[in-house]
Structures are given as structure tokens and as C-alpha cells.
């Protein structure tokens, strides 16, 4: 793997203020700059020329600066591809600064794994450095339907300072089914999935190292969120598990993780949730009551369970009622 110019080591929590300010100083307000200095941004090498940042298992907040999802970097001989842009401009700037420490090669692609703010709020920064934004063919439509709402609702959640300058930037290169991106010396294989976590889930597979970036099709440790189709997720679980990867970078949770064992816990949770909801529907229990108990047996197994389980149960109920 010709990555001589890549520093193949753990890039440890460097202070990023100066670096990120040098990359794109114009977009950051004073508050955001001050905040950027406090973001510790650790990117680790998970395979030859493949790097990942691990987000914290929390909801997006001013304190964590939106950095709750995992992000990836793949370095070829010609160019770099980045997987997801993070949950704020501050995070995206810190991320780009970290990439700059690893390689001088240009970031040619930003690949969005799906529509959620923790994965796309940094898009404008990558557009600013000339990256082509790549996404599922349904992603523009999904962002059109939700973008304005995200900008409004997250202002409350992460605060004005962190929201400043955030735009909804849709992808311009779309993946209908599969797409290959040649970075020089390695080819990434992108795959668009049917509705599961969302209706715009995209995975990225680096064949050179067998590393799968699964986006939020894989959660480890913190509870998966359901914003697409429970049945679709379960139905595609075998196909997902069938990807011949050596390791996975999940959307949330430790990086890297063993494959396909990484799917075991979430599959168990979804099956428990589906079983409870189906039982409730069969006896005529209304949605408002069913969501209070469904999936509770899984409570001890997940972080953020109380934040997401009732919502998942609500979506699951509305879907499974049509079986």
C-alpha cells in the first residue's frame, strides 16, 4: 500500500485551533473558534491507510460539539475519501486539520452515509475545500424534507454558537445501487441500501484492507435509532453480514469492531422490539401504551436506551401494524 506520505500512527489529541483556523478561518465566529480549541480530536489508524474517529456515546450537545458519530478517512495514492462530516462546523474543521496531519493529498470525496445531522452538519466545510459530496440517491430528497427542521430543532439542542454557519448541503454525486470510487491504488465500493436505519443508508467498503464503514446500519453499545424501516433493517441484516469484511467501523461505537459479530446485539434488540410490538398489536393495545413497555428487556444492554427506545417503539408500531 503506497502511503509513504501518510503518517501511519495514532494521531493523538492535538490542539487544533491553529490548524483549523488556517484551513478556513472565515466561517468561524469567535465563540466557535474558542470552542474548537477545546475539541480533542483523536483519529486512529484501523488498517493500512484507513483511519477513524470515534464519537462519544451521547446526544449532540454544546459540550461535545456534535462529535457523537464515527468518521472515517481512506487514503489512496492520488486522493483521500472522507466518510461523514460530523455534527458541526467546529468538528469538521478539527477533522480536516487532523487529516492534514496525516496526508497532504487532497480530499476528493466526502461520502455521507445518511441524512442525520451528526453525520452531515459539517458538509459545508468539505464543500469549501473542494470535495465532491457523495450520497444515496434518496439523500437529497430526505434532506429536502428535513433540512429546515434540523436547522431549527438543533439550534435548541447544540446552541446558537455551534449552529452558526451550518447549512444543509446535499450530495451532488448519487449512488443508485453501487458505485466505485478510485482513490489511486485502492477502490472504494459504495452500496446503497433499501430503507433500514433511514431510507438513504450507504455503506463504504475498502477492498484493499477489508474495512467496512457501515454508517448507522451498525450501532454498538449505544441504542440504534430507527428512522426508516425496522422490517427493512432486519430483512437486510443477512446481506449486510454477508459482506466479506475483516473489520467494521460502525456509525456509533468502538472502532474498529469485529465483523460480522458487530451485528449481533442490534439484531437481538430489534427482534425483541418487534416481538413485543407484534404481541401488543395482536391484543389490540394502542400505540401510546405499547411503546411504554416494548423492548424494555433490552434496557440494561444499551447506553442512551431511555433517550431512544420509545421513539423506536413508536416507529416500529406504526410499521408493524401493516403486517
Amino acid at each position: 500500500m503506497p502511503i509513504d506520505s501518510v503518517r501511519r500512527k495514532l494521531v493523538n489529541g492535538f490542539a487544533c485551533t491553529a490548524a483549523s483556523a488556517a484551513v478556513l478561518p472565515c466561517c468561524l465566529g469567535r465563540a466557535a473558534l474558542a470552542a474548537a480549541g477545546s475539541l480533542e480530536f483523536k483519529v486512529s489508524e484501523v488498517a493500512d491507510g484507513v483511519f477513524a474517529f470515534q464519537g462519544v456515546d451521547e446526544l449532540m450537545s454544546p459540550a461535545n460539539q456534535g462529535a457523537i458519530s464515527n468518521l472515517g478517512v481512506v487514503v489512496g495514492t492520488d486522493a483521500v475519501a472522507v466518510i461523514d462530516s460530523g455534527g458541526s462546523l467546529v468538528e469538521a474543521h478539527a477533522f480536516i486539520a487532523a487529516i492534514g496531519k496525516m496526508t497532504a493529498k487532497p480530499v476528493r470525496y466526502l461520502i455521507n452515509t445518511h441524512m442525520h445531522p451528526d453525520h452531515i452538519f459539517g458538509n459545508a466545510v468539505f464543500r469549501g475545500i473542494g470535495a465532491t459530496i457523495v450520497g444515496h440517491h434518496n439523500l437529497p430528497r430526505a434532506l429536502e424534507a428535513r433540512g429546515a427542521f434540523y436547522l431549527q430543532s438543533f439550534r435548541e439542542q447544540i446552541g446558537e454558537a455551534l449552529m452558526k454557519g451550518i447549512e444543509i448541503v446535499p450530495p451532488t454525486m448519487l449512488v443508485d445501487d453501487r458505485l466505485q470510487l478510485d482513490l489511486g491504488g485502492r477502490v472504494l465500493e459504495l452500496q446503497a441500501w433499501k430503507a433500514a436505519h433511514t431510507d438513504n443508508d450507504l455503506t463504504v467498503f475498502d477492498g484493499a484492507t477489508g474495512t467496512l464503514f457501515a454508517g448507522d446500519l451498525v450501532f454498538i453499545g449505544s441504542l440504534p435509532t430507527l428512522d426508516g424501516s425496522l422490517l427493512g433493517w432486519l430483512r437486510q441484516m443477512d446481506a449486510l453480514a454477508g459482506i466479506g469484511a475483516a473489520r467494521v467501523v460502525p456509525g456509533h461505537g468502538p472502532v474498529p469492531a469485529d465483523w460480522p459479530q458487530a451485528l449481533t446485539a442490534e439484531r437481538r434488540y430489534f427482534e425483541a422490539l418487534a416481538r413485543d410490538i407484534r404481541k401488543a398489536i395482536a391484543v389490540g393495545m394502542p400505540l401510546s401504551e405499547a411503546v411504554k413497555t416494548a423492548g424494555r428487556s433490552e434496557r440494561g444492554n444499551w447506553r442512551l436506551f431511555d433517550d431512544h427506545n420509545e421513539r423506536n417503539a413508536t416507529a416500529a408500531f406504526a410499521e408493524l401494524e401493516w403486517e
Binding site: D118, P140, R146, A148, S153, A313
Partner: protein, 287 residues
Amino acid sequence: MQDHAYRSRQPALPLAAIFAAIILAVGTFLGSPGAADAQQTTASSDSIWQDLKGDVFGDRAILIDTGVVRIEAPKRAQDAAIVPVDIYIDPDKAPDGIKSVTLIIDVNPAPVAAAFQIGKDAGVTHLSTRVRVNDYSYLRAIAETQGGELHMAQTFVKASGGCSAPAVKNQDEARATMGQMKLRQFPPQETMTKAQELQLMIRHPNNSGLQRNPLTQYFIPAHFVQKLSISQAGQPILSMEGGISISEDPNFRFDFKAHGNGEIQVEAIDTDGKVFRDQWPLEATGL
């Protein structure tokens, strides 16, 4: 671009005049940048309601918390796209009967979520549905008695946090299955004599029309169920004029008193003028 799309929202297709008028009115509320960004409080929700109620009810008096009508919803919406809401009518407190119930969600782009007409002698005392809730808001049920009195109950719902949005989750599926209906019939509960419960489900995206086609940049027209009528043996149980605040796959559960053995008939009309009809034999459970 997104911001622009949001601000220059257009009222959608021809619908009942009152729905259109109110989408417009609130469009101007939220039209100024900043106003839409502010988290709503009980006070700000109330102030929207003060401006709104004249458009819906004129200067008629509205009696509050008389017990004629009651409304329940979760204190915090779990999924902004699917918030269950229950409306109860107390027949003892409205002996001449209730002829309609209007459901209002103050802060939504289309705050009049639905106006339900209740059939005379239909015996409806409980009605539940699912709505989209965009922000912290009061949900209000305003019941009109046969005599013309207005009674209101309200409950405050905090918007869901995180990445839950009041949008269609699986658009391809919604398109492919549009118009399918399902009816579930539940036996009468011990305490009721002949009332039984129905749950009507209609597959429909109930799209908002507040979004642009990313390729053409034209607004995607609103597309939702605007009229619904449910009857049994030719007698109306419930009808609705609705808008985009009703969740995708509109879902209604209600009790009623059967009249004879005639079948249950449903007709729904959407904003494209598509008519969806279905009918089911009345199950023997309630008789």
C-alpha cells in the same frame, strides 16, 4: 438554498378554504427568519393560538376545561412524525350531543390538524389519531355541541429531541402502497353496552408540500388525505377534513354504536383528487 426553500413556502393545493387560509396566516408568522428558530413555550404557543382562533371560530366564546372534551398526548413527543393523541367526549356533560371536534396544533405550519364531524347517534366518545408535532406546542381539542357551544381542552407537548423529524420515513414504500386500507374491529369493553371500537388505517404519505424537488427546484405539491368519511349501514359515524399535520398513514381509532348489521364503508379523497374506497362487514362482536 434550504433556508430559502423554507421561507418561501407556498400554500399548497386547493383545499377547504379554512385550511388554506390558516397555512397562509401561519406562514407569515414563521416567515421571518428567527421566529421559526425560537423554541416555543406555553406562552408563545398561546399567543399563536390567540391570533389563530378568530380565523377558525370567529369571535365565538370558547369554554375551557368544562369536562365536555378531554385531550391526552405524551408530555414529550418521542417521534415528531408520529405523536399519538386521544380525544374523549363525555356524553353526560353534553346531553344534546357533540357535532364536531377540531384538533389544533398551534405551532405547526398547518395548525388545524383535523376537523371531525361526528354522526348523530354514532355514540363516539373516544377518538385517537397520530399527528406530526414540529415544536413545543399545545394540542387543543375544541368540541362543538349540537346546541352550538364550543368547549376546549388542551395539553402541552414538548417536541422530540435529536434527529426525529416530522417527515415520511420510507418514501418509496409510502408511494408504492398508497390507498391501501385496513380496518380492525375490537369487541365492546365490559363497561360499554353496545359500543365497539374500530381502527381505520389508510396508507398515504400525507406529504407536506413544503419541500422542493432537488432536480427541478419546483415545490413538490402537497399531497395528503383531505377528506375522509366513515359510515355504517349508511349512517355517518365520523368524517374528517384534514391536513398535513396528520401523520403519514393516517390512523383513527374510535368507539361507536352499531345500527343493525350493515357494513362499514370508508371513503377517502386526497389532494390529487384520488378517491379511495373500501368496505367491511360488521363483525358480530358488538351485537
